[in-house]
Symmetry: C2
Subunit: 143 residues, 2 copies
Amino acid sequence: MKRVKKKLFSDFIAQKGLKSTRQRDTILEFFLASDRHMSIEELYLKVRAKHPNIGYATVYRTLKLFAEAGLAREIQFGDGQTRYEHVNEGEHHDHLVCTRCGTIVEFENPVIEKLQDEVALSHGFLIETHKMELYGLCPKCRK
Amino acid sequence: MKRVKKKLFSDFIAQKGLKSTRQRDTILEFFLASDRHMSIEELYLKVRAKHPNIGYATVYRTLKLFAEAGLAREIQFGDGQTRYEHVNEGEHHDHLVCTRCGTIVEFENPVIEKLQDEVALSHGFLIETHKMELYGLCPKCRK
DNA sequence: TTGTTTATGAAAATCACTTTCACTGACTGG
DNA sequence: CCAGTCAGTGAAAGTGATTTTCATAAACAA
Ligand SMILES: [Mn+2]
Ligand SMILES: [Mn+2]
Ligand SMILES: [Zn+2]
Ligand SMILES: [Zn+2]
């Protein structure tokens, strides 16, 4: 899995005529080992703890690259921080977000997806992406 | 309709021990007359055209008040601008957003809403709000 | 009116990126 | 190898959209 992702990234690097660097390898390593929804800052701090010489700008730029390479996706939960999540070929999911503790749960619901397409169609829209987030209290925070 | 909203706001003001000011009345007037999805800047410019003495900070603070009073809702379409839309008692809708021209179409779909509740329930979440946006090309931009 | 308290506007401060720039360090092709 | 070339990096400066501060003004209760 990690191997596959690393291959995907190095292929992307090669095909784009970019360079393979220690920093990119390190950041990819940490990204692959990370929680599924990391802000740039969070990942930067994790990387920084082991590699104090890697700058914020590099983490920022590298995450953009991951997104371009199809390894990561930018997400926005309205807390003012951009997050990056892992992308797996052919997968799609939406999110439940706990408004108290921040827990994020992923879910898939093909029926909803299908209805979304129908809604779009009925308004003449050609859908490219969508965003669906359900905000509320997670089981723990309900108690 | 406008009358009802104005009453709602003045009641909110009174009940909170806040003050009724010319600025707030003016901004409410412009908000009620506005498009359904205005950024702070957009509303500020409209107000400013007629009332050059009203500051950005006041528009900003007043929109927050409208949201608190239940007159407005903050929305975020990922273009880096916070927008405010009108809230009508007992109404709810989601959005189709054109990625080319920015057109926003509102829609309601009770079936999707119901399925969302079921998803939340099945994960033990108690939903407070949700967000669903479908991004793509509007009929005009498809051509 | 007066006194007290909240509101306002201009400007400064924040925040989360995003870009710049001088210096590094990958790769190429001799 | 080995230098030359060009992309990559990190620190710092710049951006854009808020968000807060603070001196002054305006509500409104007494
Ligand atoms: Mn989805
Ligand atoms: Mn909805
Ligand atoms: Zn929680
Ligand atoms: Zn369009």
